[in-house]
Structure formats: C-alpha cells, structure tokens
C-alpha cells in the first residue's frame, strides 16, 4: 500500500526558455501527462519544488501558473466536478522528496487520486548572476496510489545545521541592483554524502531492511564527487547507485535520476529502491520505494 510513481520525465531548456523555469516546468509536466496518457483534468494536486525561476517570482506559487498552462481544471469552480490544488515547496535538492511526502499524505487519506510533482530551475534573468551554476532543466513525476504491497515507504529526514556554509544562495541588493549570489564550500559534496548516508541507514533501520536487499540507490544531487562519497559511505558499488546523467541539474535531480534509471531499464518491477537526497541546510532525506508491477522472467 503506497504512493507509486506512474511516470517520470525530464526537460531541458531551449534557447527561448533558458531564463524561464516556468516554461521548462510546463514542458516537463505536459510530456509527463502525455506519455502517461493522463488528461490534465485528472490532476487533483500539483506541487512544484523548483527554486530558480523567472525574475525570482515571489508570488503566486509557480505551481499555479504551471497548472494554468497545462490546463488542469483552471476554470472557475462549478458543481459536479473537481478542481486542482497547486502550491510550491522549497527544500533545495530535497524538494521533490518533500513534494512526494505531501502528495503521499493526500493520496493515503483518499483526498486525491493523482498528483504531479514538478521541479525546474533556470538562470532567473540576465545580469542577475554572473555564473549560474545549474542546468536549465526540469522534471515531473506523476503519482497515484496502489493498494498492493508496493510503493513509497515512510520518509526519514535529518538536519545537520551549518548556517549555509556548505551551500547558500541569496538574492540581495548589491551595486544598485538585486543579484543572485551562490556560494559553496569545497567540502560540500563530501558533507552532503555523509548526511545522506546517515539518513539512509536511519531509513533502513526503521524499515528493518538490510542494505543488501536494496537493488538500487537513486540519489540526488548528481555530482560525481557526491555520488562517489555516497557509494563509499554506504559501502555499495557505484554500479548500484544512480544519479542523473546531467551533473548540473539541481532541484529536479532526483526526478531526473528516476527518469534515467527507468529509461535504462534499471527500475525493475518488484525491486527495492532507496531514494536519497541531500542539500543545503544540511538537510537529507531517504525513503524506500518498492517498484510496482511483476518482474517478467
């Protein structure tokens, strides 16, 4: 019994969308719904976990614009039909895991049947930052509920507060205009890997599952240094660990890792996957995911 991921997609910024997290998110959401054969009106909940967005929009939630642009029950409420609820969460690279937890709660209570988790980032605007370190990219996850024994388990979290020393991004007023400033420490990936490994073992302990029974670790962020640190921290071979192909993908990294693992045929039905994310804070989250469906011999 649990939340299952019906489909995962990723999208890359084009020339016209290179400053628009909104357009990238809409492209990912549309592709996800299309490929899964889910009409937009079937969505009950849309949660966006992206951070770096068009002009650093503060309100509304970017999710409401995504909802309008994909056409998920955008019209005025009327009797005999259902609407869609949209909002944003922010938790850095861990955002999609947070969004999954929110969706899981409402799926579990029966308040909704289908949820879309979206995340995207783009350089907010020309002149705002000199070296935007992340790829203009996004992803979407379509989720629903299953009554069988598969799906998402409880999500474990841990905070290791460092005041933003490992990674920090702010928008502040410097030299006559608002600028995005991103700083990170040299030890960032090492620190994130340690945090992720710690919460991974907490999660396995709570579920009384042995790491040996985990078929695949799907992790974010996607940087090689983090992946290597995590593999050694967990004591698993790097082949059992999947991160997104694009190292520079940020809030959508976990979604992209799921997508890349799926297209590579590595999310086998019946297998046990450990979802792991760590980011600024330092905040780390982990959950076990039992891939639905039956393995074909």
């Amino acid at each position: 019994m649990g939340t299952i991921i019906d489909h995962a997609t990723v999208s890359q910024a084009g020339w016209r969308s290179r400053h628009s997290a909104l357009r990238i998110a809409v492209a990912a959401a549309r592709a996800c719904l299309d490929e899964a054969g889910c009409p937009p009106n079937d969505l009950d909940l849309l949660v966006n976990a992206g951070l770096y967005r068009d002009g650093n929009l503060g309100e509304p939630a970017l999710a409401s614009m995504i909802q309008e642009d994909v056409g998920a029950n955008p019209e005025d409420p009327h009797a005999g039909a259902h609407g869609t609820f949209s909002f944003d969460v922010a938790n850095g690279v861990c955002g999609p895991l947070t969004a999954l937890q929110v969706a899981d709660g409402f799926l579990r209570s029966g308040s909704i049947r289908r949820a879309l988790v979206v995340a995207s980032d783009a350089d907010p605007a020309r002149g705002m930052t000199r070296d935007f370190p992340f790829a203009g990219a996004g992803g979407a996850l379509l989720c629903s509920w299953t009554e069988d024994a598969t799906g998402l388990g409880p999500i474990c979290w841990a905070n290791f507060p460092d005041g933003g020393e490992s990674f920090r991004s702010t928008v502040g007023y410097h030299d006559g205009r608002n600028r995005l400033r991103i700083t990170s420490s040299e030890l960032m990936d090492e620190t994130f890997a340690v945090a992720a490994a710690k919460v991974a073992f907490d999660c396995l302990d709570r579920d009384s599952t042995d790491l040996a029974d985990v078929d695949l670790v799907v992790a974010a962020p996607a940087r090689a240094g983090y992946a290597a640190g995590l593999a050694s921290g967990l004591g698993v071979a790097e082949e059992r660990l999947v991160v997104a192909r694009d190292e520079r993908i940020h809030t959508a990294a976990l979604i992209a890792a799921l997508h890349d693992a799926t297209t590579a045929g590595r999310l086998r039905p019946g297998s046990t996957v450990l979802l792991l994310a760590a980011g600024a804070g330092v905040t780390a989250g982990a959950a076990l995911y039992r891939v639905p469906g039956r393995d074909t011999p």
Binding site: A61, D76, S109, G110, R177
Partner: protein, 367 residues
C-alpha cells in the same frame, strides 16, 4: 471519492485518518513601529489624490524599521507560540515555514538553505523535519492543510506552521511609483509586517479541533497578482489587479463554502467566526455581504477585521486576527471558526475548526 471541487480533508475515517488535529497554541510578533496611512501617502513621489484610508479602511500598519526581518519575525512568533505550549520545542516533529518573504540581515532573500531549517534551529526544534511552503498569502493555511493531513494519519504528532513577513518594503517601493488610483501597485501600499505561528498537535479523544480543510487553485486567474525581485530597488515589487481578484473570489466562494458545510452537515449560521484574508475592510465587508446573499444564511458574528490596524500582513493575516479575537476574549470555548484563504494563484481555501478551552487558557482566558 465524492465529486467536489475542493481538495478536501473531511472528518476522520477510522482506517485512513483515525486522528484529529487541534490548535495547541498560536503566537505572533508585531514590530513596535506604527506607520499610519496618512504618513505613508504623504511619502509618495507623485500627487496621487488617493484617499487610501477611505478606500481600504486601513488606518495604520506595523513596520520594521530595520530592527526586524522575515527570519526574526518568524522566530519571535514561533517562540511566543511555543511559550504557550506545555511541550518543549524539542518535541516538534515538523517545522514548516510558509512566508513569501525570506529576508535575513536586512533585505537579503534566502533561497537556500530553507528558512524553516533556520527557524527550527533557532527555537531548538532539533528533531523536526523542515521545509518551506510557498503559496502567496495562503501559505500558512496551506501549511495547516498539509500538517493536518499528516497528523490525522498519525505520520506526525506535533508540528509548527510559521511565517515571518517583512513585506512593508514593497509599500515603500510602490510609494515611488504609484501615480493614481488605477495603479497596479496600489495594493502594495496596504502591506504591513508581522510574524505568526500555529502549533498543531494530535487531539485527545473527544476534542473536535480541525473538522474540515479544503483548498483549490483557480489557475485561470494565476496572473492577477505578481510579485518579484525589483531590478534596481532593494526588495521586491508587487502588481495586483485587485478588482478582478475580488470578483473571482466572490463568484467562487459560495460553492466552496457549501461543499465544506455539507461535508460536516452544518449551516453557515452554525459558524461563530469567519476570518478571511485581510486585504481591505471594505473588500471584506462587501465580499461577505455577497456570500451571505448567495448562501442565504449568515455566520453568528460579523467577519473579523484586523486590517484596519495591521494592514495586510500577507501569509500571517489569519493568525494575527485570530489572536486579536482570542486576546479580546471574544472567542468562547467551543466556538467554530472558519478561516478563509484568498491569495494570488488564485488560491481559495477554507479551514473549519473548533476552539477549545486549553487554547484560550494559553492566552490567559479562563471561561
């Protein structure tokens, strides 16, 4: 699943949602400095010929004069809230920050790490999972919606929904640009600063707590109120089509209210207090009159108005107004309160709750 427009959490069902959540305590922090509407309008660059006080009913708002920012407002509100609770901060399972503004050290907006993590650390919620939720002025009530869902299922037992809004800077920026009453930055002049916090916990048997919570996004209107980082001014600017928002909200609310009332089998007149988002006294009165006419029934008391002395404090308005009513001793044990969210998105939400004696006692009222 019954067909209703709202995404709704209805009374418990023993299997899926066996528990209820109650408001254990509420807290707020208001900056000491008062800015009157007269003083603000005297600071505009252009001769606007706008009688903002007559238009909105706002006499004054609280503003930070650099002594507070979003983070310090949120922390002070969280501490006020926790000081009224019997349990320590270390017992919190989750802290959700829901502010639009995340200014720290003046007007520096933090994107990462989260403000929730910083608030949790500052108040000593060492065990809590943390994340930020953004949903314009519906942020805190959206946070309540999520936390209520988790508490009902037993995923968590106690959590803090918090917000700090240092948003008056948008009013200062608008004062440079507003020329006349048609200005899309007019609504920015109504903003005030505040911090607010709500502590939710699993209710003991027999305590009603939150009975229904429902939300929807009417996304056709998603572009009616936009705020973003100003290019060449500190802080941000906000552009609002207030009339269009009011019109859409008035037309949608009766149906949504009916859905909520139907789900628990009560009438509008069974509700004691209605606390809407505080935009302007005139808009609240006019909106309520429309809804009362459409529903054909009225709550026991007039809609709560606190915007006249605090202005629009963004995501914190409902909590700030609720505390006003509690501290004045107007809310009695067992009273039913409807919190109605209306925010850019267009976000519409209704949370129905019953206030218990313990909550009132935490503010020094023994009924």
């Amino acid at each position: 699943m019954a067909k209703h427009w709202l995404m709704m959490e209805t009374p418990p069902d023993a299997v899926r949602s066996p528990y209820r959540a109650r408001l254990a305590s509420v807290g707020r922090h208001l900056p000491a400095t008062r800015l009157t509407t007269d003083a603000l309008m005297a600071s505009t660059r252009h001769h606007t010929h706008i009688d903002l006080e007559r238009l909105t009913g706002i006499r004054e708002r609280r503003v930070s004069v650099g002594d507070d920012d979003s983070f310090t407002l949120a922390v002070a509100a969280a501490q006020d809230c926790l000081s009224r609770s019997a349990e320590p901060a270390s017992s919190l399972d989750v802290v959700i920050n829901c502010s639009i503004t995340k200014y720290r050290d003046g007007l520096t907006q933090w994107l990462e790490p989260t403000m929730s993590g910083a608030v949790a650390e500052a108040v000593g919620a060492t065990r809590a999972m943390t994340f930020d939720l953004s949903n314009a002025c519906a942020g805190m009530l959206s946070g309540v919606m999520v936390l209520n869902n988790w508490i009902r299922q037993g995923t968590v037992e106690r959590g803090l929904v918090v917000s700090g809004e240092y948003i008056s800077r948008l009013g200062q920026n608008a004062a440079h640009h507003v020329r006349n009453i048609m200005s899309r930055e007019l609504a920015s002049l109504t903003l005030g600063d505040a911090g607010a916090a709500i502590l939710l916990e699993r209710a003991p048997d027999g305590v009603k707590g939150i009975t229904v919570a429902g939300f929807t996004t009417v996304a056709d209107h998603s572009r009616l109120c936009l705020a973003y980082g100003a290019g060449t001014e500190p802080g941000a600017r906000m552009f609002t089509q207030s009339r269009a928002i009011q019109k859409a909200a008035i037309s949608a609310t009766p149906l949504l209210l009916d859905e909520v009332l139907d789900s628990v089998g009560i009438a509008f007149s069974d509700i004691d207090w209605v606390i809407t988002h505080q935009t302007s006294a005139r808009a609240i009165k006019k909106g309520m009159a429309h809804i009362i006419e459409a529903v054909g029934d009225a709550p026991r008391h007039d809609a709560v108005i606190s915007v006249d002395h605090y202005g629009n404090t963004a995501s914190t308005t409902h909590t700030v107004a609720l505390i006003d009513e509690i501290e004045a001793g107007r809310i009695r044990p067992g009273d039913t309160v409807a919190l109605i969210a209306l925010a850019s998105g267009l976000e519409l939400g209704i949370i129905l709750l019953t206030v218990d004696e313990e909550l009132l006692a935490s503010h020094g009222h023994n009924h």
